[in-house]
Amino acid sequence: MTDATDTRAGPPRVSHAGSSALLLDAGGERFSLPVQQRLWTLGAPDSPLRALPWVNECVLGVNNLLLVYDPLAVTPSEARAQLLQLWQTSESKAEIGTTHEVPVDYDLSGDGDLAAIAERTGLSMQEIVHLHSSAEYRVACIGMIPGFAYLVGLPERLVSPRRASPRPGLPKGAVVIGGTQAGVLPITTPSGWHVLGMTDVNVFDIQRPNPCLFAPGDRVVFKVGGVSP
């Protein structure tokens, strides 16, 4: 999955993503951490890109960035040229972000998703808990639903295809994995991801000035237990 040495990404592709949006796709087929690190710089709140007066939004994706511009203030071709130029000069900053520790009440009941993954992979439930809780994850980006952090760094042996059809109403606080990624559900939502356990860390709260607990570039570690009942 998250192959930190994968720098094969070719020249970025910029496509129209709307009548006032451009998508810069800097990745290849697989996730590249170095590419993502450059995108964190390009899309950071204090970046030169964000400072342009016609930039309305910068949405980080996984190895890509969506730029929403004011079409009454800039032409699509000017916006495209500026975006490419700033991408070409953007560099990755080695150390950004903070580290979050997330206590998890893992589901060892034997009839949940964790047990099903054990069945499929041949790992024991304890091995799954150990693998999941001993890795260090990075927040690639926030998106899809409010406050959802795409966490990269899931150990290869835990990679689990998403369910063919999503289940309705997975609860807020569910600690989940899907494909090569991990996450914590910020709201109760339909999801095709697998639930390993629950946490009481509130990753999304509209009462906070910044509702999202995690930001791109942050590190996340999961630890066993310590969740208030």
Binding site: G18, S19, F31, G43, V59, M144, P146
Partner: protein, 327 residues
């Protein structure tokens, strides 16, 4: 200052408080939300004497009924719906003074899908992340993050004193659109998206040459369409990327989905095209069963369309403001 103004007398979980949306939060996974037909909201607000960004009620379940708890100027725009005030019929796209105790009933549209009911002073619900728009998926904004139901009481902001004559607007653009709906078919301008070239030649032809019907799975999140399946030349695995309202995604079954105001901020399905911003209202007002035809234009033409749309809108808003002062 705000005071209670309206009591909702009909239930409709899909009738929601909306303003122009929650701009600037996409990078936190927060959908824009906001009025599906922003132009109609802006005109309803102008007719009610409000700023363009005031919150109003987006009605998509009819008949809608509400009783006034205080005198107010009401204005409605959007779909082709008659509004009755204590049984007295008023045309669509109309504004009038309504007295405390009177009841307004908005009938099911003859044509179109959504009506915006604005109230002088604007609907006053708490600002959440800079907007009063309801986000049903996130469960915040609007009235307690949910649709309106019978017995809900809404407040409105303080309205400037003004003349209280009744008037309406009749827009050539909207009349043309309603005529298209009469024929059951609506044309949408779109720009080719990143994966357009990854679709087969047959799919590219079908997308522009055949109609796609709005299915019953059509709401503020998006419209699922039904038509000639759109196949890729080969399977594509895309990493998650930001999307905006108007994006036409094609999941593995080949039937396109237009993502709309409440769409997830990121997606992973291949995108064939994006409906231009100037035509999003045409999607918003297309009821289930409408046949949609896509016409691809380039980005410069889309920008010109937006400029023209905005100029026309500003001219109209100016006319409304002048008419309110001196009919």
């Amino acid at each position: 200052m705000s005071s209670t103004t309206l009591e909702i007398r009909s239930s409709g979980a899909l009738n929601v408080v909306q303003d122009l949306g929650r701009a600037g939060w996409l990078s936190q996974g927060i959908s824009n939300a906001g009025a599906m037909d922003a132009g109609a909201l802006r005109i309803a607000n102008a007719m009610a004497g409000n700023e363009a960004g005031c919150a109003a009620i987006e009605i998509s379940l009819f008949p809608f009924r509400a009783q006034l708890l205080a005198d107010a100027t009401l204005a409605w725009a959007g779909a082709d719906s008659t509004a009755a005030i204590d049984g007295m019929a008023h045309p669509p796209w109309w504004s009038t003074r309504v007295r405390s105790g009177q009841t307004i009933t908005i009938a099911p549209p003859r044509r179109g899908a959504r009506v915006y009911l604005a109230c002088s002073g604007g609907i006053d619900v708490p600002l959440v992340m800079g907007s009063r728009s309801t986000d049903l998926k996130g469960g915040y904004g609007g009235l307690q993050g949910r649709g309106l139901k019978r017995g809900d009481v809404l407040a409105s902001g303080t309205a400037p004193e003004g003349d209280h004559h009744s008037f309406g607007v009749l827009l050539a653009e909207r009349q043309g659109y309603f005529a298209e709906l009469d024929g059951g078919e609506v044309t949408l301008r779109a720009i080719a998206a990143a994966e357009y070239g990854a679709f087969t030649a047959e799919a590219q032809t079908a997308f522009e040459q055949t109609a796609y019907t709005v299915t019953s799975e059509a709401n503020r999140t998006g419209y699922r369409l039904d038509g000639a399946p759109l196949a890729l030349r080969q399977r594509l695995e895309l990493l998650s990327h930001g999307i905006v309202p108007g994006t036409v995604q094609v999941p593995p079954n080949g039937q396109p989905i237009i993502q709309l105001a409440d769409a997830n901020t990121c997606g992973g399905y291949p995108k064939i095209a994006i409906v231009i911003d100037a035509d999003l209202w045409r999607v918003a007002q297309a009821p289930v069963g409408t046949r949609l035809r896509f016409v691809l234009i380039d980005a410069e033409a889309a920008t010109q369309a937006l400029h023209a749309h905005e100029r026309e809108h500003q001219r109209l808003l100016g006319n409304v403001a002048r008419w309110r002062r001196a009919p």
